[in-house]
């Protein structure tokens, strides 16, 4: 699958050119990029997702941190160019280890190299796949009446039925889910349920919820990887399947929903590729804690701070979220998806989900 990288190379070279021009004109070299904070995300009416606003951050050599960042950037773009030339790719973790040979430009943690890869995306408007960089793992799983066609490493096309061709663990989402790699062939389902925890995913699989309710189950594995979010978005857009997000009831889980539906703060530059604006939150809601009398834990100080921060988060400003977050703050409690087992193993599939689906107007046909 030969791909044309000319555009990527031009953009990468422009970074080097900017730094070089600064040095030549005796200016302190600097790069500008959108500020990646909660305060700088704005709703894009055209794309229907949250994108970065106008605030810019300067990475300049006038501070030591900035100088290091620029040096690493130079090494990184050089490395990306080499990979494009040699038709290689590397994981983010490998990139971190490659930097061992970059002298002063060496990363002190993988977090730094991951952030720089994101910075480069923000600066150039490219995606990290364009840079031949890929994430370490994805492994999120899918179970449902759906056939995907994957282009394998041997360049052959392979059709996989996500119930019949897979074991109980389901179909594993690859890191690249773009069209050249993956397409949806045949789908016979009514909606997608994106589930936070593996335990709940397995519970729904064991109880046959995917067949009984014509659902495509997707395991989010905590904060979902880009490929998982992209997979959900494509399935939603191409096959018109509604998306329901089913998570624990705590501020961190609300953020999982936020990144699926609205776009994450860290990756707002590519929200239009990753976010599914039509995704709905199914539960567990703070109201559910009361309505279903679920077993709870007390909110920690971190939980409370996170909830309060969500009250200022532009993505959580609608009536529903304001109400639920305030309710949770007043309850002082949080609960897990699997707390529903209080009423037996089948309760979630026999009672809770059907009731919630009715509530959302998506009762079984």
């Amino acid at each position: 699958m030969a791909r044309d990288y000319t555009n990527v190379i031009t953009k990468i070279d422009s970074i080097a050119a900017k730094v070089y021009a600064d040095l030549e004109q005796a200016e302190i070299p600097a790069l500008q990029l959108s500020t990646r904070t909660k305060a700088n995300i704005k709703f894009d009416d055209r794309l229907n997702v949250w994108k970065y606003g106008k605030n810019k951050t300067q990475r300049a050599a006038s501070s030591l941190d900035g100088a290091y960042m620029l040096l690493r950037t130079m090494y990184m773009v050089d490395f990306i160019k080499d990979m494009i030339k040699d038709k290689k790719s590397s994981t983010l973790r490998e990139t971190y280890y490659i930097s061992e040979g970059w002298n002063l430009g060496k990363f002190s943690s993988q977090n730094e190299s991951d952030l720089l890869a994101e910075d480069l995306e923000v600066i150039t408007g490219c995606m990290r796949e364009d840079f031949k960089l890929r994430p370490e793992e994805d492994g999120a799983r899918v179970m449902g009446n759906l056939v995907v066609e994957e282009v394998t490493r041997n360049n052959t096309k392979k059709k996989i039925h996500c119930q019949d061709d897979v074991g109980d663990a389901g179909y594993g989402i690859p890191y690249n889910v773009e069209k050249e790699k993956l397409s949806f062939k045949q789908v016979d389902a009514d909606f997608i349920v994106a589930i936070e925890t593996g335990g709940m995913f397995d519970r729904l699989v064991e109880n046959g919820f995917d067949t009984d309710y014509r659902a495509v189950l997707v395991h989010l594995k905590g904060q979902p990887a880009r490929s998982t979010r992209r997979f959900i978005k494509r399935l939603n857009e191409e096959k018109k399947l509604p998306v329901l997000v089913f998570t624990d009831c705590d501020p961190w889980s609300f953020r999982i929903y936020g990144s699926v539906a609205y776009g994450a703060i860290k990756t707002a530059h590519i929200s239009e590729y990753l976010a599914t604006p039509a995704a709905q939150y199914l539960g567990v809601t703070p109201s559910d804690i009361e309505n279903y009398k679920l077993p709870t834990d007390t909110l920690t100080t971190e939980d409370v701070a996170a909830l309060k921060s969500e009250l200022d988060d532009p993505r959580f400003q609608d009536q529903f979220w304001k109400h639920e977050i305030k309710l949770q703050l007043s309850l002082g409690k949080k609960s897990e998806q699997q707390a529903l087992a209080k009423y037996g193993l089948d309760y979630v599939t026999d009672t809770y989900l059907p009731e919630k689906l009715t509530e959302l107007g998506m009762a079984k046909k």
Partner: protein, 645 residues
């Protein structure tokens, strides 16, 4: 009938000799256990030697030896190069308690009570049954006399047991050899510490210490001049007890109250005398010998009500900041401290006794960072080794919030934690000890206050220094890295674009954006140009006459700003130093600083300012105190804003 019992009782009543009293109360005097006894004995003998030398204007050269013939017995030998003692006086000085020349004098001195050395001799006699051996020589052309002394504990009198005339190489001096019961194993560390501490506060003394195993330590002299001799002053009215006042009145030659008050007390001028008489409602002409107790009481009360000037301070002999610094430096060489700062307070008064507080902080080097600071306490140049917790010095230190000065102090009070030694010297005509063994200063509010103020002052110096240093280190680190990172960035970007590597000098300048000032002080020895007046004393060790030192300072000024800079530079130099060659030509030279109006410095350019100082000892001055004017001080690393003279 009752008379008979009284007679009966009277048969049992007799004078208790001071010696007997000592026998029963030896713990009070510092002989409580065999370890303490060893240190107290060395201490008393050394104090005596130092006092004898100083009083006769001789630079002290002390030799201390301890032999340990049996596990429980030590022979202490202390030799000085003082004036010696005439034979007739030897039994009184060494074997009679409460005998001395200093008890009645109001001036700063080491010993006060006159118990010291005789107590050692007595303790030796009581515990080993051996007699003390004293050798003394009073002048070069006199032979030395050696005597063996015993104390008659009933009569409080020394008795010469044996005497002979011997030859002694010393021009003059005194040597005491006394056998005592002591715990050498435990005590020797303290003896070393005591002598080292003594050497710190007596920079004019040289002390050689020979341990029982033959190891010799020399605590070198770091000052070649004797401390200023403390003057004797008359008692100050504020500190006098009623009884003493009455006794003085009985003994005075003055016929009138007014002249008695004026002549026998310090700080009593005519006006104050009149005010006291008026307040006491007594005639100025009252004969003091015929005054009643009530009249004395009225005078005593009047003393407290009338404002009387503070006593004169000539009676004090502080060590001085330069000398404290110098000897701390010499004694902490192994620690190689980062810096030493000192502070001294003006003289102050507590109940009529003048006193002065001096402090020093030794910081950094090999000192442990996670332990409480080491506290060295001195009173009238005597190290205080015990009862640190009960001492006013400790209380004062503990009451300061050291966290404000960059030390660790878990609860905001208590002895702080950090890599430092805190030295305190309290000099006074009357040190208020907590007990007779003279180990701790009582918590007198005035003294505690002065100690606190002195430490605050020195702590501020420490903090300023540390802050300055941190800023300099940070800027330097940044500079070092920028000069490494930037060329890499340039190389990489040029390589990717196939272009030549651009020049970076100007960019680096713009990033630094400071004026960098850095100094080096080097010492050069100058022969045949003595820079310090020395006392003309015969030097038994035959030390060669040393030449003077010249301190050469080079101050480097680099402009790392993008515009030319023109400003004034000031360098402070220590009192008493003499300025030699200076380059470039200064615009002003005073007795404490030099001023240059520097020419304009172009970006990336550097100029060197050099000057020489004579008249100081090596190491007295190792860092310039630099100030700038006519430039925003926040642009400058290595100098502060000049605040005027």
């Amino acid at each position: 009938m009752p008379e008979a019992i009284a007679y009966e009782l009277a048969k049992k009543q007799k004078e208790i000799s001071v010696a007997e009293f000592f026998e029963r109360n030896k713990h009070i005097l510092g002989f409580g256990n065999p370890t303490r006894a060893l240190i107290t004995s060395v201490k008393e003998a050394v104090d005596n030697g130092l006092d004898a030398c100083e009083e006769s204007g001789i630079l002290p050269d002390l030799y201390v030896e301890i032999q340990n013939p049996h596990e429980e017995e030590c022979i202490i030998i202390v030799e000085d190069n003082g004036p010696g003692i005439i034979k007739q006086q030897i039994p009184h000085v060494f074997a009679r308690l409460l005998y001395g020349s200093r008890f009645h004098a109001v001036r700063q001195s080491r010993g006060q009570q006159g118990i010291g050395i005789s107590a050692v001799v007595l303790y030796g006699q009581l515990t080993t049954g051996k007699h003390a051996k004293i050798t003394s020589k009073i002048a070069n052309d006199h032979p030395a006399v050696a005597v063996e002394l015993a104390i008659d504990t009933n009569k409080n009198r020394g008795e010469i047991q044996h005497q002979q005339i011997i030859h002694w190489d010393k021009p003059s001096g005194t040597r005491i050899e006394v056998s005592i019961k002591a715990d050498y194993k435990r005590g020797k560390r303290f003896v070393y510490e005591y002598l080292q501490s003594t050497s710190i506060v007596n920079p004019h003394a040289r002390i050689v210490f020979k341990e029982a195993d033959g190891t010799e330590h020399t605590f070198e002299r770091t000052a070649d001049a004797l401390p200023k001799k403390s003057e004797e002053i008359k008692p100050h009215p504020y500190g006098i007890e009623l009884g003493t006042l009455i006794k003085m009145a009985k003994q005075t030659n003055a016929r009138k109250l007014a002249s008695f008050l004026k002549n026998e007390f310090s700080s009593m001028g005519d006006r104050t005398v009149n005010a006291v008489c008026e307040m006491a409602q007594l005639d100025r002409n009252t004969n003091p010998q015929q005054m009643s107790r009530d009249q004395f009481f009225a005078v005593h009360q009047a003393f407290k009500k009338v404002k009387i000037m503070a006593p004169p301070t000539e009676c004090l002999s502080p060590i001085g900041e330069t000398l404290i610094r110098r000897s701390l430096k010499s004694e902490t060489q192994e620690i190689s401290p980062e810096f030493i700062f000192t502070a001294s307070r003006p003289a102050s008064v507590f109940s009529g006794n003048p006193f002065v507080v001096e402090v020093g902080i030794v910081y950094g080097g090999n000192l442990p960072k996670d332990k409480p600071v080491r506290i060295l306490r001195f009173a009238n140049r005597i190290p205080l080794l015990y009862q640190q917790g009960d001492c006013a010095v400790t209380t004062a230190i503990a009451s300061i919030d050291w966290r404000r000065y960059g030390f660790d102090q878990p609860s905001g009070t208590g002895v702080p934690v950090g890599p430092a030694i805190f030295l305190t010297h309290v000099a006074s005509t009357q040190i208020p000890y907590t007990s007779e063994s003279k180990e701790a200063i009582a918590d007198v509010e005035e003294i505690e206050n002065e100690i606190r103020l002195a430490f605050r002052e020195v702590a501020r110096k420490v903090q300023t220094h540390i802050n300055k240093k941190v800023r300099r280190v940070k800027t330097r680190e940044k500079f070092d890295l920028i000069t490494k990172i930037l060329p890499e960035i340039a190389k990489k970007s040029a390589h990717m674009l196939n272009k030549p590597v651009p020049s970076l000098e100007k960019v680096i300048t713009r990033i630094m954006d400071v004026v960098w000032i850095e100094d080096v002080v080097e010492y050069e020895k100058v022969r045949g140009r003595p820079v310090q007046t020395k006392l003309n004393v015969s030097n038994p060790t035959g030390q060669a006459e040393s030449g003077g030192w010249i301190a050469k300072s080079t101050i480097m000024v680099v402009n790392y700003k993008s515009k030319p800079q023109k400003f004034n530079l000031y360098a402070l130099y220590p009192k008493g130093a003499v300025v030699g060659e200076v380059h470039p030509k200064p615009t002003k030279v005073t007795d404490s600083y030099l001023k240059w109006s520097l020419e304009s410095i172009e970006p990336t350019k550097k100029i060197d300012v050099t000057y020489e100082l004579a008249g100081i000892n090596k190491g007295d001055f190792d860092e310039n105190d630099l100030y700038v004017q006519n430039i925003n001080p926040s642009f400058v690393i290595g100098a502060d804003k000049w605040e005027g003279d």
